[in-house]
């Protein structure tokens, strides 16, 4: 039976910036609070950390007439259909896709190379003191047991809606929402309904696998394997064709010095 791909629809217009999602995630995953300082913003912590899988960004958008739109944006792993982190990970199983389409991680298989930190178009994975990478895993343990992720359960305004991806997208489009992530990177597992342009929310306009990573995995790697065996083949062919450089016995060298 074909598994329905699950995901989030994040309706940013409903978010009230309460951060229940931040706290619920920590409660479910048994993560301690980070020590924070006030830096002049309601955003705290000011970045994702190994102990913070999702957070709310507070973005003030002031127009030139002084009217301010205060946007609240849930920043987290968006479980890309074509995931840069999975593409680059050298350790099989460290980053894996569950049957529901979630990009989950297995710390025991992580070899601490930190490549995924560089390969993510959204800069999501974080490296911890335990030398392992962590990120939101969409509560795949809860989802596998038929429940919704902890953050979605806690959200009081149904900003974080969890369910079958296609159905949620169809419903949102039917309601006239402008969606982000519907088809980028083979469809994001977390689709946002935005009221402003993606840049206003700190989202990359056109997310894609970083060029260097794509070149490495999809161009250099296959060509490299070809190239290696090519050079082996070349020396074999050379030996078969030309043989080696024999050394004639003293005096009667084949070449000798060019000046006779």
């Amino acid at each position: 039976m074909a598994q329905v791909r699950v995901g989030f629809l994040v309706d940013t217009s409903r978010c009230i910036g309460c951060r229940s999602c931040q706290v619920a995630c920590k409660a479910w995953n048994h993560m301690d609070a980070d020590k924070t300082v006030e830096k002049g913003s309601y955003e705290n912590p000011t970045d994702l950390t190994p102990n913070l899988y999702n957070r709310i960004r507070f973005l003030e958008n002031a127009d030139d007439r002084g009217n301010v739109k205060w946007l609240f944006m849930n920043e987290r792993c968006v479980h890309c259909g074509d995931a840069g982190c999975m593409k680059i990970c050298p350790s099989p199983g460290a980053l894996h896709r569950t049957k529901e389409g979630i990009v989950a991680f297995d710390k025991e298989k992580c070899i601490s190379c930190k490549y995924c930190v560089s390969a993510c178009p959204f800069n999501i994975p974080r490296y911890g003191a335990d030398e392992k990478v962590t990120k939101c895993h969409l509560c795949f343990d809860r989802v596998g047991a038929g429940r919704v992720p902890a953050c979605a359960q806690a959200c009081p305004t149904q900003t974080l809606q969890f369910g079958g991806r296609d159905a949620m997208i169809a419903k949102a489009k039917g309601a006239g929402k402008k969606l982000y992530g519907e088809s980028a990177l083979e469809g994001l597992g977390v689709v946002y309904a935005l009221e402003e342009k993606p840049e206003a929310y700190g989202l990359p306009t056109d997310p894609s696998i970083p060029t260097s990573i794509f070149l490495w995995k999809d161009v250099v790697r296959p060509l490299g394997i070809l190239g290696f065996w090519g050079s082996v083949a070349a020396v074999v062919v050379h030996y078969v064709t030309y043989g080696n450089r024999q050394l004639e016995e003293d005096g009667k060298g084949k070449g000798g010095d060019a000046n006779g």
């Binding site: 002049g40 705290n44 003030e60 002084g66």
Partner: protein
């Protein structure tokens, strides 16, 4: 207790047609949507305006225990029969001792009509809407002769309006919620919000530590410079406002002092709620 499940209701039925939506969430305590709705009917329980009937007495309805007569429409203010019933009828203003409404009830220190007064500490010399600048019946705490019991109006030392408010992450003074590490992580320290113009004028950048002072004391706070705060135009002059949360205090090391060290020791004439929402301060960059 009929809470969680019923609060989540989102039924869009509106049987009265008045936009009451009785099955949308829950109006505590009994889901009565209009207080004192018994005042909308006459002595026999018939609505004064039949086209906009909130409740009405159905004399023929049979109750489970065999009695006759019940209210239809909104949840009534108490199940008793209409006023006209000599034995069990009740006047509609059920939370007042005499059951009737009043423009000017007994026991209040000021009135009879609402009046606009300026707060005790204010940025204008005159009340533009009344000859009396401040409420003469305000409770002024100065019996103890404490140095904090001072007030400063139109004082060049304290030119900015300040207000205090709560944050989502802490509850009231924060003395309990600051002990929850996850909450302290979200809101770790005393801050003061101000607009871009004021910050520029005082050479304060977002994130700088500033000193906020009033006639009663001073505290340190981290500046949150934001376009959400815009200056007011009051009586032709520009008045800047700043805002502070009051959920921090010395009991939790490192979070800063309470904003209530700055607020006036004067209270509302009737409730004595202290005037923490409007007072005058100064701010200074501390680096």
């Amino acid at each position: 207790m009929p809470c969680a499940g019923l609060m989540a209701r989102r039924v869009r039925k509106d049987p009265t047609g008045l936009g009451l939506f009785p099955e949308w969430a829950w109006a505590w305590p009994v889901n009565r949507r209009i207080l004192y709705n018994r005042a909308s009917v006459d002595l026999s329980g018939k609505p004064y305006n039949v086209k906009k009937a909130v409740i009405y007495w159905n004399a023929n309805a049979v109750l489970p225990d065999g009695k006759l007569g019940k209210w239809e429409g909104d949840v009534p203010d108490g199940p008793w029969p209409p006023m006209g019933d000599e034995k069990e009828g009740k006047k509609p203003y059920i939370m007042r001792a005499d059951g009737v409404a009043a423009i000017f009830g007994p026991g209040l220190k000021d009135g009879p009509f609402p009046e606009h007064y300026e707060p005790l500490e204010c940025p204008v010399q005159e009340n533009l809407l009344s000859k009396q600048r401040t409420n003469p019946a305000s409770k002024m705490f100065s019996d103890g002769g404490l140095p904090e019991d001072v007030y400063a109006t139109c004082d060049t030392r304290y030119p900015y309006v300040a207000t205090t408010y709560r944050v989502t992450e802490h509850w009231q003074t924060g003395v309990i919620s600051r002990n929850v590490p996850w909450l302290l992580e979200l809101q770790p320290r005393q801050f003061v919000e101000m607009g871009l113009d004021l910050a520029k004028e005082k050479k304060i950048r977002n994130g700088d530590t500033v000193e906020v002072s009033s006639a009663r004391g001073k505290i340190e706070a981290v500046a949150v410079v934001t376009p959400r705060f815009r200056p007011f135009k009051v009586a032709g002059s520009t008045v800047h406002g700043v805002g502070l949360p009051w959920c921090f205090g010395w009991f939790t090391p490192g979070v800063g002092d309470s904003a209530n060290l700055l607020t006036p020791t004067a209270g509302d004439a009737n409730t004595m709620i202290p005037e923490t929402k409007a007072f005058m301060v100064n701010i200074k960059a501390k680096g």
